[in-house]
Symmetry: C2
Subunit: 200 residues, 2 copies
């Protein structure tokens, strides 16, 4: 049976979102209709509010500031020459929540599946290199590559490291070892191996 066009439009649009399939999209559409006009209007205008959001021209995190920089890059208390390269915005949020990092970021985007960087990712790296050349005479203090400790993450990290090693005095990765609260008995071999190698 054919659903009304407006409902099919919404189902198609929702099914394009990551981790939402056509079945969940259909259920969501019916849920929205069931919640009524007011709710739909609010959601629709909330979404429209996202149009105001800009990407920081330095780290590519989101912001709504008047200038081109996000709250982190615009904060003069943060060290501009220690740069953490992260895959995605939610990783940046988790790292910020630790309150232990006082440098700045570069969001490089999802790990490449083809083993090469996308064109837009290359542009982001390029803009970081140019910034380092202009502001710090070609050498940042430290670049931290903060990718997931998975084989895909390791692979991408090696790629980024090759690109950036000429532009920094020190290049590092997030520490590996036992997660706090974990138990030695249940740690996998790789994790326990890293914990031994990097003991201290």
């Amino acid at each position: 049976m054919q659903l009304p066009q407006s409902v099919r439009n919404v189902i198609e649009a929702l099914a394009q979102l990551p981790s939402i399939g056509p079945r969940q999209a259909t259920r969501l559409a019916f849920y929205l209709i069931g919640r009524g006009k007011n709710y739909i209007q609010t959601l629709s205008s909330d979404l429209k509010g996202l149009e105001k959001v800009k990407l920081c021209e330095r780290c590519f995190f989101i912001h709504e500031n008047a200038g081109a920089l996000c709250d982190i890059c615009g904060n003069s208390a943060r060290k501009p020459d220690i740069i953490m390269v992260v895959e995605k915005e939610t990783d940046l949020l988790s790292l910020e929540n630790t309150g232990k990092f006082t440098g700045r970021y570069l969001i490089i985007g999802g790990n490449s599946k083809t083993g090469t960087l996308e064109e837009w990712q290359k542009l982001r790296l390029q803009s970081l290199k140019q910034f380092i050349e202009k502001e710090f005479a070609g050498q940042a203090q430290e670049i931290i590559i903060a990718f997931n400790p998975t084989s895909a993450g390791d692979f991408s990290a090696a790629l980024i490291e090759k690109e950036l090693k000429g532009f920094t005095k020190k290049i590092s990765r997030l520490g590996r070892g036992l997660p706090t609260g974990g138990e030695i008995e249940f740690a996998d071999d790789e994790t326990l191996g890293s914990a031994l190698e990097r003991r201290g």
Copy 2:
């Protein structure tokens, strides 16, 4: 760290949707921003399009027709006095896809967790009873209760059956037994028991 208000609004709104938690809502918000203004505008106006959708005053399925009835209830080729009571719209869609049902529907809404019907569910039952009284002198030909074959579904079915048994010549449930393509060896006891009892 504090995200811009417009982004927090969207995250809160998305996290209210069924089966979307705050983490997925955050990821979705960043995804939407990453897709850019055009995409956000389209999604926002697609959602606004849902405002035109109405609920059928007879079966409570969605429609955009000029009158008060949906395509099914407004279709004179469909028997008005055989009524299938379903829990939700997606169940109706699955049943319609079989092409084997020529009656009409009543969408009664999600199974009650408290063991009683919600006020709005009672109103839907009431409107069905009134329709049967007015159009068929108080007796429909058949009412089929098509709820999930789970204990919650069985419980709700018993509730609805009690409410409607005075308003129909026949009351029935969907058949239970082996699903087509299944294997006897792997069928659970309940299913195999039903298949034996309802053999034919």
